[in-house]
Symmetry: C2
Subunit: 375 residues, 2 copies
């Protein structure tokens, strides 16, 4: 059922590891199910919100800050949970030491004192490797960052369902943008309505990565909303990337408020065709770079990726880019996002798709439409 | 002028260091002025958004991801900026190596190959210390996390001004909550209006840490907004902690929608008195724990800190807690937040203040008021 954990087992064998110590938020989520919100930056009460020690399919321990224990509803079954004391007000903060004490215990109880330990070297604080090295000098660290990235690229059914829920929020957000955009509203006010409808559907606050720009600024392809008001004839580029329960969805629409120029209409149609060409090309065995190449061939080059995997991170393998010869396989989930950027406007359209046995299924149900009054 | 950098120089002497390599977001902001948004978690295109190598008051190098170079408007003068290649689509991502190449060059050019280097060991990825150790085996790492925390507690004038701007957003948010709360609105919808008014005043999207709860849930002291609608007689607890240009503001109000019970009114008055007692106690030479004790003496114990420093992190020294014998000094900025939590409701009120030569100045201008119609 949970094939990603089995693949972790294969990686363990291939690299002659004894266990993994995973510390990046995307990997902890992917392999344990545990998600913590990261919107306000690293907590001043934690060394890490969570770390996952995985020995085998049936032997995993999640070490979390005790203040996070209310967030365990999405945890995979069969994972042992231990917590460390993080926030205190009646005595000095001691979370670093508390984390390390618990981690040392996990190492000892798992008989990992001489282990070859797979780690994510970019995402593990130096205090952890130094402390383990000093306490258990025979532990050997092996960086498996790039292998884990590839391993996460193929999704299990439960992950695809989570991405579906997240992508459904994209659809709600795109409809809201189309419905609420009007002359005189500011980008920030329009986005606040979009965000509210997405969060209301989610039932909670959610992280949202975004480009949300209007008018001439669309030619720059990206940016955050400002107090600029929307004028008649402005394009609105709305790239919405919400994270629901740890999995990201992704979609982009561009539409006009008022009347578009014929050059803009032509560009919109071309980008929509390019996106469809990309979607039609997605199937097992096709190289990522081929999908990218076909889209660029239709609309000319643009200065960003043609697409990317989505999952517990908003941009992961398979990257749909000119150099990437990775072959698509079933259950990869990909966002495709071709764009045309002129001097005074830009248009980008994006769908999220899951690779099937014979092609792909488009997860985003929203139908890109350039004229807001035609919906 | 920038005394925090001079204090860094004193710390360097005291610990016999040759330089600092600072990697935590709050320290990079504090000592370089550079701020990056962290709302969507670590970037898949960066090892770190930024790292700061400081040798002396006049010799600092900020190493940033090249995609962040548009965010340099708040940089302190006299800092050399170098960037590393982070995002690429025409060739494979190589940000880890690119970061390390640049960092090695900075070490060589600064003649720091044999340096004692002050680091923040909880906030530096292991790949950086390992790579430096392997390339420059004579570099010695000295963890200065706790010293840096104390050093950041006293603010310079430019920092206090930034906190003032952030606190002004708190005032706007609290007025918005009072104004827009009504029977039938959901917590999420009310918060979306609050957030929009704060972001509109800021002119941009801003990170906001918050507790935003209503009704019985206020007895739990904290939590995020949900689809729960506000009923007549509900209390609304609104703790708003925005981050503007890297500095956090903090305020909390609790008010009733409709009519409060006499027990609630009494509790509100007591908490307001406790807050005033805390404010009156703040002056140079007073111990943090004394301020905490006075507030608890008035309203009884509550299960969180009585207050905390704010700055480039939303909770830092001086912590206003029972154990903390740190003495207050001018230009510390503190949020005080006493609370009463009963079985069916909770009330917390909070002001942000700056310690002056003779007492303190209250930065939050918002006047806590329990009845929304009396404003």
């Amino acid at each position: 059922m949970v094939q990603r954990v089995s693949r972790l087992g294969e990686l363990k064998q291939r690299k002659r590891l004894d266990a993994f110590l995973l510390t990046s938020q995307p990997s902890v989520k992917c392999f344990s199910g545990y998600f913590f919100n990261f919107e306000t930056g690293p907590s001043p009460f934690q060394l890490l919100p969570a770390a996952l020690v995985t020995v085998s399919n049936s032997e995993s321990t999640l070490l979390i800050a005790d203040t996070e224990s209310h967030q365990l509803s999405t945890l995979r079954s069969g994972i042992t949970v231990r917590s460390y004391i993080s926030y205190t007000y009646d005595k000095p903060l001691d979370f670093e030491r508390q984390f390390l004490i618990q981690l040392h215990d996990i190492i000892k109880e798992g008989k990992l004192q001489n282990a070859r330990l797979g780690i994510e070297i970019d995402a593990i604080p130096a205090v952890i490797t130094q402390s383990l090295h000093s306490r258990f000098p025979k532990i050997e660290f092996v960086d498996v960052t790039s292998e884990i990235l590839l391993l996460r690229a193929v999704k299990d059914k439960d992950e695809i369902d989570l991405i579906r829920s997240s992508v459904a929020l994209c659809d709600i957000g795109q409809m809201s943008a189309l419905k609420n955009a009007k002359v005189g509203i500011s980008e920030l006010e329009l986005f606040s309505k979009v965000r509210y409808e997405m969060e209301s559907a989610a039932g909670s606050r959610i992280p949202i990565l975004l480009d949300f720009i209007s008018g001439k600024r669309t030619s720059a392809s990206g940016g955050l909303p400002t107090n600029k008001t929307i004028e008649s004839g402005d394009l609105v580029l709305s790239d919405l990337v919400p994270c629901l329960n740890g999995y990201w969805g992704d979609s982009c629409n561009t539409f006009v408020v008022g009347k578009a120029t014929s050059s803009q209409m032509k560009a919109f149609d071309s980008v929509k065709e390019a996106l469809q060409i990309g979607i039609d090309a997605v199937r097992p065995g096709v190289k990522a770079m081929q999908v990218d190449k076909l889209m660029r061939a239709h609309i000319g080059d643009f200065f960003h990726h043609g697409g990317h995997g989505i999952g517990t991170v908003y941009h992961e393998e398979p990257r749909i880019v000119p150099y990437n010869d990775i072959e698509l396989v079933p259950n990869m989930v990909i966002a495709l996002e071709p764009g045309i950027y002129k001097e005074d406007f830009g248009i980008r359209l994006e769908h999220s798709v899951v690779v099937t046995e014979t092609g792909c299924e488009v997860l985003t149900k929203f139908n890109h439409c350039f004229d807001q009054y035609s919906i």
